[in-house]
Amino acid sequence: MADRIGDPTVVADNVHLTYRVHGASSGKGSATSAFSRLVTRKKAAGVTEVHAVRGVSFVARRGEAIGLIGRNGSGKSTLLRCIAGLLPPTGGKIYTDGQPSLLGVNAAMMNDLTGERNIVLGCLAMGMTKQQVAEHYDEIAAFSGMDNYNGKDFTRLPMRTYSSGMAARLRFSIAAAKSHDVLMIDEALATGDRDFQLRSEARIRELRKEAGTVFLVSHGMKSIRDTCERVIWLDAGKIKMDGPTEEVVAAYEKGV
């Protein structure tokens, strides 16, 4: 099938996701209670289930930029991880065109390594060849601005010395170096400064022109309005509203 604007790229069919959390209740802390559970063969009391996504269905199309909004803990990031195939859904199915890429705010790179090594490792992990990494390296370092940050070459310093905004810039630059069929951005731009936000918004528009689909999670309604024409509002793991940006954002802002 030819890649046409408007073809579906992501189809979510009644997706559910339940986290199993170990050590959530106080019972696990004491050795005697753990031992008595072993003896009585009761189910571990320390395991709690969190139903983070409860039956989400939608169709995303080529060329669309979709904003995901909702309160903290409404399941936005979890949903993106499901779409990316990083967390298998416990119920329902997600169909995608190619391999979606997720760019998250806590998408930890290796903090004990330098920015330079993180760029190389990130690109190799995304499946680039050594040669492609060499071609893209300068572009990534320059786009992130880390090669000359306040007059210092930060690519030579370990990432643990970066501020959260600087780390986010580097991560976005690495992910944006490749063109993706489906790119999902999880609040990665929130910590960037004005100048970098403008540059990354321009890059997102470019990626969309390459006929991909972009998902953007953000609490900043301005960046949602600037980049997305469709918004999905998640509330407690369910879709509360799905439609054109203006209407959904207006309803969301009224509701908050």
Partner: protein
């Protein structure tokens, strides 16, 4: 016109409309979409893994460098650690416990055994944590997860290479001659590496599913150390034991690889029979291939944590 779509219904109308209410699964099939996060078929998985070979090596190099980055002496510790270990083993087992019965060159015997066992031991320990400790990376990027246990075993291989230089120096220092036999060390270590990769993939999957493995593993490994004939000669120790006991002790993969290394380096050490080499090859292939298949079968679940 926005529409408040109910959770379990297909949104109709608006930009999300999908031309007539055809079921979503059918729509996906019509446009050749694939299920996200599905486990790739084995040939595709191997192909992806081969494609990430540079990532595996680069990740291992980076981890080695980073693990010494905060120490002031830096990578000098890669040499100091095996040296100090050898000194302690000699002090405890050679001088204090005098467990050198039935062994001619006890220092070479002990240090060889310890370094070879440490290779497997540290590969298993690193393998156990290779998935559970890298969850942020796994949840952030898409790559065949087998990269991680393989990479961590390569880290241990790099450490082993340095340990081997130290080991060879110690063995020569105890008066052993440098012979062509030493070349046998290379195939022996290669087979042990294959075995280690497989084993670390097995414990990586178990460690990802059962979080208590991290706590349990040191005890299992210590037990393994004690039965592997590192401090004592199995042949001497089990000479009065029933045949099947000796057979089990000698078929233990750790003991097999240790014996091969001793045979290569220590001239006074009794030559290993041919079936020890057969066992070494067998363990390497059974655990190497089996471990890979075992790991691959849970590929799609590793992000769960």
């Amino acid at each position: 016109m926005a529409n408040s779509a109910q959770a379990d219904t297909v949104p109709a109308g608006g930009p999300s409309a999908d031309g007539g209410g055809i079921p979503l699964a059918e729509l996906a099939a019509r446009h050749n979409l694939s299920v996200s996060g599905a486990r790739p078929k084995l040939p595709a998985y191997i192909r992806q893994l081969w494609q990430r070979r540079h990532f595996i090596v680069a990740f291992a190099n980076a981890k080695t460098r980073a693990s010494y980055a905060t120490a002031r002496l830096g990578q000098v510790w890669q040499i100091l650690t095996p040296l100090m270990n050898a000194a302690i083993y000699y002090l405890v087992f050679g001088l204090m416990l005098k467990s050198d019965k039935g062994v001619d060159n006890y220092v070479a015997f002990l240090v060889t055994g310890m370094f070879i066992f440490t290779f497997t031991q540290s590969a298993v320990l690193a393998g156990t944590r290779s998935i559970s400790d890298q969850l942020p990376l796994i949840r952030a990027l898409h790559f065949p997860r087998a990269c991680l246990p393989i990479s961590f075993t390569i880290v241990q291989l790099q450490q082993l290479m340095i340990s081997m230089v130290v080991l060879c120096a110690i063995v020569l220092g105890t008066g052993e001659p440098l012979t062509a036999n030493w070349l046998l060390l290379l195939p022996a270590l290669l087979l042990q590496f294959m075995f280690n990769v497989g084993l670390s993939m097995i414990v990586a999957r178990i460690g990802a599913e059962i979080t208590d493995m991290k706590q349990l593993m040191p005890f299992l490994l210590r037990t393994w150390l004690y039965v592997s004939g590192v401090f004592y000669s199995i042949a001497h120790f089990a000479k009065d034991a029933p045949d099947w006991v000796r057979w089990i002790l000698e078929a233990n993969p750790a003991a097999v690889y240790i014996e091969l290394a001793r045979d290569a380096l220590v001239e006074s050490h009794a030559h290993v029979p041919m079936h020890t080499w057969a066992l070494a090859v067998g363990w390497a292939f059974v655990v190497g291939v089996g471990g890979f298949l075992f790991f691959w079968q849970a590929e799609e679940k590793y992000g769960r944590g």
